[in-house]
Subunit: 498 residues, 2 copies
């Protein structure tokens, strides 16, 4: 038996006994120690690994219990072939005929990879100045609270509950918490049959698009607006209508009568963060009633509001079930968990549930239950409060610095969200700026992608502040302003003004 | 302040301190204790709840830390209005105009709720004899191992890793474990860019249907066959072709040339559990090559095999990238977790990934990481071994009892899966039997739903044995046989034979 098998992994937080066990499991499963082969004595392996003999004895005994090893009286431990039963050991055949691969290009009914998305580096945390949108500062994660709720969901009784296939149901405890704890914060009151749990807000939009839209359905979207919504709706409809947005959000008066659906972000417009005023909300609902329009409200970041009273959700004013409300916990708890919800008429939710059943049955039950505990224990409320305090400080600081450092840039005066939407100097190419900035450790999002038209303005960019630690904001913005100045000077030199 | 607020929940496994805390959190968030109101002294509340004073002190202190309470020197604890900031408190307006709800029926582009599904009671565990398919016996859940892996995934470092939005990526550790631990068991070797993590096997089928099929695409499906696959494909294509199945599974020779896709379950045909012989597999791949066919292989329950050597996956013989392989951990670890994977040509996986990004971005990162640990530690291998032992015993017992108790019924001789497919007496109405059986605490699945044709045979039913404890099998089957005899006798009396 070769010695290299018996080295412990270099770095691991696990106990020595666990490390010994996992080292042996890998060796057995990967076929390095053959079926029936004897293992070294406990004393010998302990010496070789520089661990106590007892550590090895315990690891061996656990492996016997799990069926990896057989213990034979007076002769030691042996690999149990049984654990490898049911495994196919054949390696891929090499004398295969020449491959005749299919022509996939011809087969694709659509090409989702061709859609344009916001691009951001996955390793944004390694950059000193990540003005990244939609990711959370790791320092603000509710680690202890989440662990506590996981522990609750890992009791024998709870595990037996959530391990099962729920077919098309949701965890009633989570639905209850969303109904009674989350939605009332937004002025929304719903019955359990008006709520569907989704894999994030985006999944809700995908379900609605699949269920309600055909190729000839006219769908209005804010312009600029949320690129993912535009992408999703564009896969089902050929009639997307960009709708004008001003400093107060969607210009409701201009929605054409032929619109059957409108996608809107009233709490904080994406990407400008403007809040739709009450008068426009009422006008939108009245228009929905008179022109038989359905409004899809994405109430993202509703919980971020730094000045004045929060505005209730548009859905809270909806007496005709014409608003389909979409929310998520991605902007507070963790986007990686993919927990969202959709609220609408019971007739709609029934079909949306059937559609979801067809797609993936239901969101994972263990996460549904853990999130239910998180809400029930009030951890989400206290998290929202902590985030709100942290974001208020960052928002104030960013606002002050932007006025000072980029006096020629403008941004609408808003009071919520986790980003600033900046119009740089008219000659600025924000994509070029983003590339240059990245070389200086600064991540920003060029704004072009948010516009529906091909000849979109190039001078907009978005600065997120949910992921960047507060002390990095000032040096990051100063460096960014320096780059913009440099680019403007160079552009000025190339194209002197007349 | 009303006393009823201060009763601890009746039954709870949580510590007294946690119970006190949660009782107060609920009261505050639900508005029962108003903003700024004083709380009872620690001594008084301790007395009222019959807990120690220290328990209340610790609960109050934690609530101060979390922002629910303010502590004022010498005057006690008060509700912190701050925690309620950002909440909309308006109740739904009642003086709204008469509702003009939309006509949803007219709006649905499809009616997924009208699709026929296998129906089974969600509370099957309460029945004494649950011959339910696709659920797991709670006694076989790997509770301790799963907990251990959850703990690993809850370290600060790991949580910071998985909390983030991965956009369209998967956890590389999970992909690595599936590549090196799971797929080789089936003879399948794949590169990371040929693997996509999905929300269960069904989600993989939904992605493939959305990506590859149009209304005029001819799709062959086994008949009888998996109803969910039929439902999914029927939502995109109008040309589903039922393909004949015999005691060896799909009759490959009869696949019409115009088929562009074939859905097949070669390891254990759904629902008969027949294993497709090697000669048919080779014929299928050769046909795929000559007629430019893509084969979608659902390798479910590959790990259950009670006699002889396991048959490698069809994908293991595929040299032309014409097989798209779909698998999941739903039949071993827990269906509620919704963890599956798809293996195919890199070109296909790239578009499938973009499609998944549009639908829901990615499966939850915390579950991806926890499952990766579960696989990496070898827990899945030892679980498969335990399940295999348990299922072998049940399979042998069921086989013996079925021959004894239902000698007039027939079932194909197979050697895997977690169910028996039974052809009852020709006059049997298995739906009526299922209804009657449920009244006697026995759950079975009528077989009609597995057939594509409208005039499907009515005498088939499926008996699952993964969820029923072994000691319940014999009394359950005896009772079921009695019911069948009774129905046959009644039918004989109604329609005496000539």
């Amino acid at each position: 038996m070769r010695d290299y098998l018996f080295r412990l992994p270099d770095s691991s937080g696990a106990s020595l006994q666990t490390q010994v066990r996992e080292m042996l499991v890998s060796a057995i499963l990967d076929g390095h120690i053959p079926d029936g082969a004897p293992l070294p004595s406990c004393r010998r392996l302990a010496h070789q690994l520089s661990v106590s003999r007892n550590t090895v004895v315990l690891a061996y005994e656990r492996l016997v219990e799990e069926g990896y090893l057989l213990s034979k009286e007076r002769s030691g431990y042996f690999v149990n072939g049984d654990i490898l039963a049911g495994r196919v050991r054949a390696a891929p055949s090499k004398d295969a005929p020449a491959a005749m691969p299919p022509d996939w290009d011809r087969r694709f009914a659509s090409r989702p990879s061709a859609l344009k998305h916001v691009r951001k580096p996955l390793d944004w945390e390694r950059y000193p100045y990540p003005f990244v949108y939609g990711q959370l500062d790791p320092a603000l994660l509710p680690i202890a609270d989440w662990r506590e709720c996981c522990r609750q969901a890992l009791s024998v009784l709870e595990m037996r509950g959530w391990a099962r296939d729920l077919i098309d149901h949701d965890d009633p405890l989570l639905v209850q918490e969303i109904r009674t704890r989350v939605l009332p914060r937004r002025g929304v009151w719903a019955e359990p049959d008006q709520i569907l749990i989704t894999m994030g807000a985006q999944h809700a939009l995908y379900i609605l698009a699949s269920l309600l839209m055909r190729r000839d359905t006219v769908v209005g979207i804010e312009n600029p607006g949320y690129p993912d919504a535009r992408n999703i709706f564009s896969t089902v409809s050929d009639h997307l209508l960009p709708l004008r947005v001003d400093h107060q959000g969607l210009v409701v008066d201009e929605i054409p009568e032929r619109c059957r659906y409108v996608f809107v972000t009233p709490s904080h417009h994406c990407p400008t963060t403007a809040t739709l005023p009450l008068a426009r909300r009422e006008a939108l609902l009245s228009r929905a009633r008179t022109t038989d329009l359905i409004v899809i409200e994405d109430d993202y970041e509703a919980e971020t509001n730094y000045v004045g009273e929060p505005t209730p959700a548009l859905k809270s004013l909806d007496t005709d079930q014409r608003v389909v409300y979409v929310g998520s916990l991605s902007k507070t708890l963790a986007p990686g968990l993919r927990v969202g919800y959709m609220v609408g008429a019971a007739d709609l939710i029934r079909e949306a549930r059937a559609m979801r059943r067809l797609m993936l049955r239901h969101p994972p039950t263990n996460n549904q239950r853990t999130v239910a505990h998180f809400l029930s224990a009030g951890h989400h409320d206290s998290l929202v409060r902590r985030l709100s305090h942290a974001y208020t400080a960052r928002w104030q600081l960013m606002g002050r610095l932007l006025s000072e450092l980029l006096p020629n840039a403008s941004q609408p005066s808003t009071f919520g969200g986790t980003s600033f939407w900046v119009a740089g100097p008219e000659t600025l190419d924000a994509s070029a700026l983003a590339t240059l900035a990245e070389q200086h450790g600064i991540i920003i999002e060029p704004g072009e992608i948010y516009f529906a038209q091909h000849n979109a303005p190039k001078n907009y960019f978005r600065l997120g502040f949910s992921s960047i630690p507060v002390e990095r904001i000032e040096p990051g913005l100063r460096a960014l302003a320096g780059l913009i100045d440099g680019m403007s000077a160079a552009a000025g030199a190339d194209h002197p003004r007349h």
